[in-house]
């Protein structure tokens, strides 16, 4: 019995220590953004390391973006959104979860980098190598709009699953009713469309990358794309 208690204590300690580790990094923020940790709001900067169960809230006309520490996935949060970040390490991979209770996020996930789930009050979306929007209304109604890859959606109330492909939008009501249809531009707000277009930018852009030449001097590579 004593051994069991000791083992339990060690496990609790390990879990506590694991939870203290950073799981993501805040890459960008604009407008009003708050970060809550253990039910308290904390001060933060760009580049802040995010821990398990950290809660990010964006205000009106605000924006935030964070990246998980395995560098595999990026989540962008739009105005008036609330997301809780969790991740657990399994072997060399990081299983990630973002719980969206309100608002809109754009998720970009690389393939083969651990599980990635987006939870809302009514659904859980599992993804592997996908880009999609998740939008949650006040009452819990959820909308998944897939712009690349596909997403498997499971409705919590009915345990019903559905696969949402590229160019499709899944609407799940607060009562768990699923409706699948083709996406249309009106599904996205202006800010969401701008963000998406910036990722699909077709106007030639030039980036200038400093690199080291064989003599150790800094040279620049200009890439037009």
């Amino acid at each position: 019995m004593k051994k069991l208690i000791l083992l339990s204590l060690i496990m609790v300690l390990c879990v506590t220590l694991l939870n203290a580790d950073a799981v993501a990094m805040l890459m960008a923020s604009k407008g009003k953004l708050s970060l809550s940790r253990a039910a308290s709001q904390i001060k933060f900067h760009k580049g802040e390391l995010l821990m398990n169960n950290d809660v990010l809230r964006t205000g009106a006309e605000s924006f935030a973006a964070y990246k998980y520490v395995d560098a595999s996935s990026t989540v962008k949060m739009f105005s008036n959104s609330v997301a809780t970040i969790t991740a657990t390490k399994e072997g060399n991979k990081l299983n990630k979860n973002v719980a969206v209770s309100k608002g809109s996020i754009l998720t970009n996930v690389n393939k083969g980098t651990g599980l990635f789930r987006v939870s809302t009050p009514t659904t859980v979306a599992s993804v592997k190598g996908t880009e999609f929007f998740t939008k949650v209304e006040e009452g819990g109604a959820t909308q998944f709009l897939v712009t690349d890859g596909e997403v498997e959606v499971r409705i919590l109330v009915t345990d019903e699953t559905a696969v949402v492909g590229k160019g499709q939008t899944a609407l799940i009501s607060a009562l768990g009713e699923l409706h699948l249809r083709a996406s249309n531009p009106d599904d996205l707000s202006a800010a969401e469309q701008i963000e998406l277009e910036s990722m699909r930018e077709t106007v030639p852009k030039v980036i200038r990358i400093p690199v080291l030449d064989e003599n150790g001097r800094v040279k620049y590579i200009e890439i037009t794309y």
Partner: protein, 788 residues
């Protein structure tokens, strides 16, 4: 061509005509955060060495930092580039040999001293790992934003020793400032200054050193930060050496305490670079040649101007590395380059009359030098250059009592003579990069007036010499004094020096062929150290096969008495070869073979009893093996073994050649350097043995040397105390004697880029056969260096 040449030189290079031959096996990479230990083995020319300096800088920097190397074992010189110098940049370094005759040679270095070894930041025993992932990916930010480095090593988190993690940003160890959370590292720098930030992470995983790639971020000037658009780089240094001896009369080595301070400062503003170098020493004396150095200069892409001490390099036979204190300028355009130097090359000094020993007062004239050079053409094509220099001893700088006196007959005698020296040279070079060929030629002629004090000769006296020149010497008095002391009076082969060379890169071979002749009366005060009345043929070849095999060889043939004015003609032949084999993860091998033959022959036109025929042969073989035992967990160890064997034979005699010298030498060196990873301890154990046998007298001389050193680090290598002990014992057919030295020192890095090194050494010399020669000395050294 230059690029190809440089690549070769990075690994191996043998100087043509070098007085010193050395082998250096370049480390494959350096470990950020640790001093870069370098070793150099002198295989020939040790006796001509005064000191060896290690010069280093980060790639892209203009200024060399320099530190003296230490000879822990005979022929083996060591020094370490301080870890504060670099971390994320490639490092360039070279070795500077200061010879006893005052000249300098470099390794690597061909004709100029601009080549260097280049070494990149990686682990010699570790590897670059992609498991370090950069989370933030901005290639450029402004100085209004924070510079952020966020790195995850999640994939190897279980294997990494967290205490071993080092983070370097902009050549600075910022590990202490890094926020560590799980397998994520975060470094933040508020209001970063504009420029390039290079970042690197290293760690030990399962006893193996791993390194990240180098991440580069450009910080652009922001709108909030107000800063001077000037980039400053340089260092301020202070050194002090104090000596105490039980008996200064018999002590060997320095006994005069001294201190010095020096600084070098480089400022860049747009295309303008300004630099200052100052060196001030307590050994400076206004009545000796200068030790202190003062240099101020500025450069723009097509023009540079320096004031103060400078060593112009016009051409080999005119101005070639000798210091001139004055003004130096260079106009540098694509097709035309103009050089001008003017100043003092020798300071006036005086020695008062010693009436006790009846020695007259003497002095050295102040010597002025002026030189100009024009070079037409492109450096990467055809170039034609004309150079002219004049060195003049200024007679008015000394009172007559310091250069002349009257002998018992009442005639004037000169204790010091004033000289005028002029040299004119024409040089041409053709660089054909496509054909990988560089060839060139230089022809120079000189005039030397060995005593200008009597003044210029009259026109009538000049006519008596039947010189076929329609000029009046007095018209040129201000330029050059012509009198009977002029050497030679007629310009000819005797006062001419010339050389021709061709260098080509063919099938991975860099072949150089050079021929030079120096006339018996050729004198160039701005470029000394030429062997007069001689010709030299040199052929060298260097091969580099990848980074694995390096082969080099040089053949020199020297012959003097070209004018056949001397009783005898001496000829010397030398062959120097080197090989380095370095297969990754296997022991490296190095070998060298040097052979020198010399002989003389009589000049049949001159009968002289002074001629004594001789012939000599000197040969030396060296072989070495080294290995980095990275397989030993937690104690990477470097082992080096060297063996050498040589023979010196000389015979001479008027009637029949008799053996006058027949000796053999042999020896080996053993060096074991260990770095303990669990504890910050470094140790070095070295042992050397040398034996010299004289086959004529059957005498044998033995030399054994043991060297032990231990270094420990505290506070993340902020403090590094060390203790070393060496003992050299001489035995055999000589006085039994020994030197033992114990040194206790401390290297400290209290703040960024500041290093303080202090050392207290005790040396005891004992002689079993002559106790009167025994002594002991105490030495204290201090070096403070702040880089910025």
């Amino acid at each position: 061509m230059k690029k190809i040449v440089l690549i070769l030189l990075v690994f191996l290079l043998i100087n043509l005509l070098a007085a010193v031959t050395a082998i250096h096996v370049m480390p494959s990479s350096y470990i950020p955060g640790l001093d870069l230990e370098l070793m150099l083995e002198i295989t020939q020319g040790s006796t001509e060495l005064n000191t060896v300096n290690l010069q280093y800088r980060s790639s892209g920097e203009q200024t060399w930092q320099s530190l003296a190397m230490r000879e822990d074992e005979p022929g083996f010189w060591r020094a370490a580039i301080p870890r504060a110098t670099y971390s994320t940049s490639e490092v360039e370094y070279r070795f500077e040999f200061e010879l006893t005759n005052g000249s300098k040679e470099y390794l690597p270095g061909l004709e100029s001293s601009h080549e260097a070894y280049v070494i990149a930041p990686q682990a010699s025993s570790g590897e670059k790992s992609s498991a370090f992932v950069l989370l933030n990916s901005e290639e450029s930010i402004t100085s209004d934003e924070d510079y952020i480095l966020a790195v995850s090593y999640m994939a190897i988190a279980d294997e990494v020793d967290p205490a071993s993690i080092k983070v370097f940003v902009a050549d600075r160890d910022v590990s202490k400032l890094v926020q560590k959370s799980g397998s994520t590292l975060l470094y933040r720098e508020e209001k970063p200054s504009p420029g390039i930030r290079k970042a690197l992470v290293m760690a030990i995983a399962d006893g193996k050193e791993l390194f990240s790639e180098t991440w580069i971020t450009e910080v652009l000037p922001g709108s909030k930060r107000i800063s001077l658009p000037i980039t400053l780089k340089g260092s301020v240094n202070l050194s002090a050496n104090a000596y105490a001896s039980s008996d200064e009369d018999v002590s060997f080595g320095n006994t005069l305490s001294d201190f010095a301070t020096w600084t070098d400062l480089n400022a860049s503003y747009g295309i303008v670079n300004a630099s200052t170098k100052l060196y001030l020493s307590s050994l400076e004396s206004s009545n000796k040649q200068p030790v202190n150095r003062y240099t101020f200069g500025f450069q723009i892409p097509w023009f540079e101007l320096f004031l103060g001490d400078y060593s112009p390099e016009f051409s080999e036979y005119t101005l070639n590395g000798m210091n001139i204190r004055g003004l130096h300028s260079k106009l540098d355009t694509r097709y035309l380059r103009l050089y001008l130097s003017h100043g003092e090359s020798v300071r006036k000094t005086t020695v008062e009359r010693d009436s006790v020993q009846n020695i007259n007062a003497q002095g050295t004239f102040k010597q002025e030098a002026i030189g100009a050079r024009i070079a037409i053409g492109r450096e990467d094509g055809f170039t034609l250059g004309f150079s002219g220099t004049r060195h003049r001893d200024v007679i008015s700088s000394l009172d007559p009592e310091y250069y002349q006196y009257y002998d018992s007959q009442g005639d004037i005698q000169y204790s010091t003579k004033a000289q005028d020296n002029a040299v004119f040279s024409v040089d041409a070079s053709l660089n054909v990069p496509d054909q990988q060929v560089l060839m060139g030629v230089e022809v120079a002629t000189s005039l030397l007036n060995k005593n200008t004090i009597p003044g210029v000769i009259s026109d009538d006296e000049f006519d008596d010499y039947n010189v076929d020149l329609d000029l009046s010497p007095q018209d040129f008095e201000n330029l050059f004094v012509i009198n009977k002391n002029l050497e030679p009076f007629n310009i000819g082969k005797a006062n001419t020096a010339w050389k021709a060379y061709i260098r080509s890169y063919i099938m991975k071979n860099m072949i150089t062929v050079e021929y030079r002749e120096i006339g018996s009366a050729f004198h160039a005060l701005g470029s000394p150290y030429h062997l007069n009345d001689s010709r030299v043929i040199s052929v060298s070849d260097q091969i580099a096969i990848g980074r694995i095999l390096f082969l080099g060889g040089t053949f020199n043939h020297t012959k003097d008495n070209l004018m056949e004015h001397a009783t005898e003609t001496n000829s010397y032949q030398s062959i120097q070869t080197q090989a380095i084999l370095r297969i990754p993860n296997l022991p490296y091998l190095k070998a060298s073979f040097n052979i020198n033959d010399s002989e003389n022959s009589q000049n049949g036109d001159i009968e002289s009893d002074a001629y004594i025929p001789y012939s000599g042969n000197y040969s030396q073989y060296n072989f070495g093996i080294g290995y980095d035992f990275f397989q030993i967990p937690y104690v990477p160890t470097q082992l080096e073994l060297s063996m050498r064997s040589g023979k010196n034979f000389r015979e001479a005699g008027i009637q029949d050649l008799e053996t006058v010298n027949d000796s053999k030498n042999s020896g080996f060196n053993f060096n074991l350097s260990s770095r303990f990873l669990p504890i910050p301890l470094k140790t070095q154990i070295a042992y050397s043995n040398a034996r010299n046998t004289d086959d004529l007298t059957k005498d044998e001389y033995k030399n054994n040397r043991l060297f032990l050193r231990a270094e420990y680090s505290f506070l993340s290598e902020m403090l590094k105390p060390y203790l070393s002990y060496s003992n050299t014992s001489l035995s055999g057919d000589q006085d039994k004697q020994s030197y033992s030295t114990t040194s206790l020192g401390l290297q400290a890095y209290p703040i960024r880029n500041l290093s303080i090194t202090t050392d207290l050494g005790f040396k005891v010399y004992s002689n079993d056969d002559d106790s009167s020669a025994e002594y002991n000395t105490t030495t204290w050294r201090l070096l403070i260096s702040q880089r910025f």
